[in-house]
């Protein structure tokens, strides 16, 4: 009898507290607005097109490109090895394993910066790590990697080296094919590969 009163006087007030507080007041590992603002100001989430091109050419297994545009746009053109997570599906359960992980480097991209950055901000706010944004999006990708413009010859050597690198990756990643982006491309002809006939050993014998 007395025991029941003691237990009741402990558990019932606790129950009242639990009933009164809202659910999920604390979500662990969430960023505060201040922390997020700091990251946004620093812009650490941006990865340049050159870095991505380099990783693609080297077939870096840690890179995971994520296209946040619509499925129709994704089917029209996408970067090699990328998956399509339309911005509206970002929070669906299906993709949580992709976005919230500590192994791969996720790089969001869209046509410009905006949608990809929105995806990054939402996922960062949820506390997800390893998510980045392709600087300038596909438009800048097309401009710099697919159809690089030759720098003026007066520029410094590193500019020219950059151009050479871009031209090389452009060939490796099938550049020049993005006519849709506007510039009259196709000025990067693929090097013709001369096929040499292999010398065969003389067959036959006795």
């Amino acid at each position: 009898m007395k025991m029941r009163l003691i237990i009741a006087s402990v558990l019932i007030p606790l129950g009242i507290i639990i009933a009164a507080v809202p659910e999920n007041t604390t979500k662990p590992f969430r960023l505060t607005a201040g922390e997020l603002l700091e990251e946004v100001c620093e812009g650490t989430q941006f990865v340049s097109t050159d870095e991505i091109a380099d990783m693609l050419v080297q077939k870096d297994p840690s890179l995971q490109l994520i296209d946040v545009r619509t499925q129709a746009e994704f089917e029209k053109y996408s970067l090699p090895g990328s998956v399509n997570i339309p911005l509206s599906d970002l929070l669906s359960e299906e993709w949580s394993d992709f976005l919230d992980q500590g192994v791969k480097m996720n790089v969001f991209y869209s046509n410009g910066n905006l949608k990809a950055n929105e995806a990054w901000m939402i996922s960062r706010q949820l506390g997800f790590e390893n998510n980045y944004v392709l600087q300038g999006g596909l438009n800048y990708w097309a401009e710099t990697i697919m159809n690089p413009q030759a720098p003026k010859s007066v520029l410094a050597d590193d500019e020219i080296a950059k151009y050479d690198f871009r031209k090389g990756t452009s060939m490796a990643l099938g550049g020049g094919s993005m006519v849709a982006i506007g510039s009259k491309a196709n000025n990067t002809p693929k090097p013709k590969i001369k096929k040499r006939k292999k010398k065969k050993k003389v067959a036959g014998g006795c």
Binding site: R4, I12, T26
Partner: protein
């Protein structure tokens, strides 16, 4: 932080070890509080001894309040907690079978092993019946597979089905539990029986 396995704070093997220790403690407490007596357990259904109700319901509401507070403090992510899937038909049929077995045999599976460990022969018979039941169920599985899998409801919780907040349901549960304790103690006075 918690659940510890999901967040890789402990490994599944360590978890088994902890489960073993908790299990030993559980069995010890069960035995020492008299749960190895089938009369005490069956008393629940006749009204002369409602210890079973009081102990298990106190455990349930304590765990419930604890987990809700852990979630409130951000120590535990309740979305990772395993919820047993509900198959309504088999829950009702199985509950009936279990309940009848409980009244007839005077044990539930856990307490049967508890009593067996101190050498009670009726518990040995009960465990024998338990094994027999398991064999019949598994061997005849194709016969009742349809019924077993009928009315699958996913993993709903009561507060979701009733569409009320989790905390409010918890408070209601606590109040219901204490009301049942009160009724139980009233029944103990109403149907007294000698302690064996």
């Amino acid at each position: 932080m918690a659940p510890l396995i999901v967040n890789e704070i402990i490994s599944p093997d360590t978890n088994l070890l902890i489960a073993l220790l908790i299990g030993i403690g559980f069995g010890f407490v069960l035995e020492s509080s008299g749960f190895s007596s089938s009369r005490k357990l069956a008393g629940m259904f006749y009204g002369y001894d409602t210890t079973v109700l009081k102990v298990f319901f106190t455990a349930a509401i304590t765990a419930m309040v604890g987990m809700l507070f852990f979630s409130l403090f951000g120590w535990m992510d309740l979305s990772y907690i395993y919820v047993n899937p509900t198959y309504l038909t088999s829950a009702m049929v199985g509950g009936t079978v279990m309940g009848v077995g409980f009244i007839v045999g005077g044990f539930c599976p856990g307490t049967a092993f508890c009593a067996l460990s101190i050498g009670k022969l009726d518990a040995l018979a009960f465990v024998g019946g338990l094994v027999l039941g398991i064999i019949i169920f598994t061997e005849g599985y194709p016969l009742w597979e349809d019924m077993y899998k009928a009315d699958f409801m996913g993993t709903p919780t009561m507060n979701e089905l009733l569409d009320i907040p989790r905390g409010v349901f918890a408070l209601g549960m606590i109040l219901v539990a204490f009301a049942m304790f009160w009724v139980g103690e009233w029944a103990e006075k109403k149907f007294p029986r000698e302690e064996y």
